[in-house]
Symmetry: C3
Subunit: 213 residues, 3 copies
């Protein structure tokens, strides 16, 4: 249905932005727990490259990104260190954290869909690949920091990833220009996530009364 | 020693039962934490398909089940959603949770052994493959829900998985009919787990006095 | 730059020591939580073989060590059981735990570097492979025991792994004898970790004031 798509320079640039953004979220998260500089670098690498690594391992897509391009380890570690240096002069760290995390979420989602499309995976797996790439890095960060993952508590987090993936796959299926589809899917996904954060939108929660357990 | 065995229709049907049961346990577990519908679907997929995915990744057995059969993602997500819809009308959710989890444990153990046998793995790896398939999905569910994994606190949990695997491998080594061995190993394993839950059986615990630490 | 190196008998012997040491740390850690004997064996296997398994999965290096040599599962499980049996007669368990963990850290780091070198990986990936092999087993142990990983709170933990890896890779690049480089890198790494534990050395911590969040 969907043509195999090339990974464009546009997507490649977005990838660099996203790994930097995710590494910065890791450094901000680490500041809430007493981690040393080396731990912060590690957490930056895991957060930025973990989602793609899990995706590639599950799809059997070797070599992993950071094995083929070891410089990504240095870039993400460096971005985390840089964030440490400047974070104490930044205000509203929580808001910056959530914004950068949202950018990483939508960009990685599109990249994950792109990778699976290029492996000729069926649509359901393409969407799953986008979600894994978009969400797993942040889940690993939150688990290693012993906080409840944003994925499970946050406003429309997974929903945004699914919607972004569907818009990307749907736009390509309609034969639209790849870069336009990429930009559009990410913009809509990012806007939805930021609006959900701003106005506290969320999907219906699902809680059993305590008496029934 | 053991002949390579076909994955029978019986085993295939059991697989569908087990992924449904495990997805339902995920939905029940999610109800104890405030997850939205999308999170519940995700947790259902991870719980039902996580054990097999980890096994396949460790054994280098590609493509993973849900990549080859993406409909499993829809089935497990759907089973989780269905459970949300009906759970508030069910009583004794805790007991249902433990029963479904026990069914998933023994069925996935047998399936994991079967996969490793078909890859001509040595017996120790076959048993380990059964344990990984049987236990990992539940461990991931419990870790993502921030509860102590059943595996480590529960009555004979891992023991049941090992015993079920040994009965399955032993029965096949004796040349017995595959479906009879499958049914027998699972029935004995399930009975043991349910009796252990009912009567609080457990293996000897291992606790150091606090003063020695 | 660096010649492909053979895995020497010296390294193989060190591997047996390290998996035994790591399995023993798992048994000691399990004693702080009420695990049964089977759970302790499992935790021993995961701690001793988890780091190498994650490394091999990430590098696409199949079959995994314990799949090719299933006896390692029995050795590590046995070492964990043995530790249970003797632990109640041992004093200063916490110190023994930290010493064994430090031995596992430096030995696994060197082995992880060696594996990546033999796969002709670039230097950054070689160091990362050493860190993953050295640190991940302990992180899995600590996460399954619901304690904050040593990696993130401990004195120079990750730093020791990086330094050990750099000394190993650097020594080989200088053309020194493999066993001497191996022994030297491990000795220096172990000494640094033990001194850091003894004197409470640590890298600068990174904590934001609470008011800025």
């Amino acid at each position: 249905m969907i043509q195999t798509v090339e990974t464009t320079a546009f997507l490649q640039n977005l990838f660099m932005i996203a790994i930097t953004a995710e590494a910065m979220t890791a450094a901000i998260a680490a500041g809430r727990r007493e981690m040393d500089w080396v731990g912060v670098c590690l957490l930056g690498c895991v957060t930025a490259l973990g989602g793609g690594s899990v995706r590639d391992v599950l799809l059997g897509h070797y070599p992993l990104t950071w094995v083929a391009h070891p410089s990504y380890l240095l870039i993400t570690g460096g971005a985390a260190l840089f964030t440490i240096a400047v974070a104490r002069y930044m205000h509203k760290l929580r808001k910056i954290f959530l914004f950068l995390d949202a950018v990483g979420l939508v960009v990685f989602t599109v990249i994950g869909c792109n990778v699976a499309l290029n492996l000729n995976m069926p649509v359901v797996v393409v969407i799953a690949s986008g979600m894994i790439t978009g969400c797993v890095g942040g889940v690993l960060r939150d688990m290693l920091c012993s906080t409840i993952p944003l994925l499970f508590r946050a406003e429309l987090y997974a929903t945004v990833s699914i919607l972004t993936g569907l818009l990307y796959v749907g736009g390509l299926a309609l034969g639209l220009d790849h870069d336009i589809v990429t930009g559009g899917a990410m913009t809509i996904g990012l806007a939805l996530r930021l609006l959900a954060l701003r106005y506290g939108w969320s999907m219906p929660k699902f809680v059993y009364g305590k008496e029934s357990r």
